[in-house]
């Protein structure tokens, strides 16, 4: 696991194949967030701050337990609290740990114009390398989950790294380590899917018939997954996308159209060159000058033939 997390499977703005002889035969990693076990203590937020040396500004109370109210460049994970009244009239407190989903098909990486500013490791983690970030914000445009944030200080993009530095040396992410209820679990994606299946079965046996795993296929699956009591309605959980996918606009903007456009631009320039070679320049010859002189003379019949000096005429 350690070495594979240093292997780069995909790199932003790179058109040649990445080194791929070494493969992740032991599987990729995943974080499983079990919303049914979360008590909203925010230990994960604190652990994230501590491990990553992040201290966000002290904010103000916005009338909910969400604190800070949104992800920021210095808050890479945020608990989102939703008070949901179910059809039976009971209150359900739905708490979702928000942050980067580490998509298998990352919209941020697809949109990024700077080589190597966004990478996807062989273990599935999507990481921003801020030293290569140019601050254009295209990752924000590409992300289906509204996760990356541009820092006001340095204009670089930041988000959850899934503690790629910890995972690289065989540790679990800081948030996992801090979770007191086991709502956060980390391991191979396969193991997490199996664990989730057990959790879903348990939830179903206790009346949550629509319980399920959130591992959206629209982005190729994610390396951060949720167990939801209401998997049929992910939007209940502070607007979690029901069917996330990279926007059609982003696909058109960043897909095959761009290399095609480059080729057309090149061909346009080439067409000019070969037109010159085949047809040649469009030149004025003596007959044109003579015809012009004649036209001038007939317009000014009493003056001597023009040509004595460069008579400038302003239009």
């Amino acid at each position: 696991m350690a070495l594979q997390s240093l292997d780069i499977a995909r790199r932003s703005a790179t058109t040649t194949p990445e080194p791929q002889v070494r493969q992740s035969y032991t599987g990729t990693v995943a974080k499983l967030i079990d919303t049914s076990k979360c008590i909203g203590c925010k230990a994960c937020q604190v652990a994230c701050m501590e491990w990553n040396d992040l201290r966000d500004d002290i904010g103000t109370n916005v009338g909910s337990y969400d604190n800070p109210p949104d992800l920021t460049d210095r808050s890479w994970t945020v608990m989102r609290f939703t008070e949901y009244e179910n059809p039976k009239g009971d209150l359900e407190w739905l708490i979702r740990k928000d942050g980067c989903m580490h998509c298998a098909d990352p919209g941020c990486l697809k949109a990024c114009p700077s080589p190597g500013a966004i990478v996807q490791y062989a273990n599935g983690i999507v990481d921003f390398h801020e030293e290569n970030c140019i601050g254009c914000g295209y990752c924000v445009t590409g992300c289906p989950f509204d996760v990356p944030r541009i820092s006001k200080r340095d204009k670089k993009a930041y988000k959850c790294t899934l503690c790629s530095d910890r995972v690289a040396v065989g540790l679990e992410p800081a948030c996992i380590k801090a979770c007191p209820t086991g709502a956060l679990v980390f391991g191979t994606k396969e193991d997490m899917q199996q664990h989730a299946a057990e959790r879903v079965a348990d939830l179903k046996s206790r009346g949550f018939e629509q319980a399920g795993l959130y591992d959206p296929s629209g982005v190729g699956g994610t390396h951060v997954m949720y167990v939801l009591h209401h998997a049929d309605r992910p939007q209940l959980y502070a607007g979690l996308a029901a069917d996330p996918h990279i926007s059609t606009f982003v696909r058109l903007w960043k897909g095959k159209t761009k290399p095609l456009a480059l080729v057309v631009m090149g061909l346009t320039a080439l067409a000019g060159f070969f037109h010159f070679v085949r047809v040649g320049p469009n030149e004025v010859d003596e007959r044109d000058e003579a015809a012009a002189r004649q036209a001038l003379e007939s317009a000014q019949p009493r003056r001597p033939p023009p040509g004595a000096g460069a008579a400038e005429r302003r239009p």
Partner: protein
Amino acid sequence: MSDTEHRDTIVRYTPRVRTNHWLLALAFVLAALSGLALFHPALFWLSGLFGGGPWTRILHPFIGVVMALVFVFLAATVWDDNRLQAADWQWLRQWRDVVNNREERLPEVGRYNAGQKLLFFVIVLCLTGLVLSGIVIWRAYFSLYFSIGVIRLAALVHAVCAFVLVCSILVHIYAAIWVKGSVHAMVRGTVTSGWAWKHHRAWFRQIIHAAHPRTGPD
């Protein structure tokens, strides 16, 4: 051109228009190079010309704003001469004669030919699209005022307009190389009477009329 001094020259572009044009050209080249750096990874090396990726990102929108402002002045000057007329459609229909240097078969052309007029309006459309979409995707100052859907659309519109504009300007640059005397006109301001006669005969007639109104040629 040993007999240049014996030829009549006509002012085609005043110093103000020339300055305006070349400021626009300079801004376009800088905007295009910095924009292409972000357009496709194959051209990211162009960002080196601007001091690296972050500087390219910082400078590109300001260059774009300068280009748009400079164009507004140029457009105001040449707008009237670029109105498309019936003869222009005939000119365009005979594009084969145009590209094969058979100019004598074409209808007489005024100050600008139909191709130039078309380019003018393509620039108007593309620059409008680039400015509007560019504001939306200008992350440092304006993106926060727009929804993500609008930003995504703007990113696409920006790339499409830039592509059309770059292709059009490539044609424009080639046309200036192809039609001899054009570069001289835009650099020095003047053309020979023969040039005006050959390429813009209606304009040429207009000028000699204006210079010598029919005051009874007895």
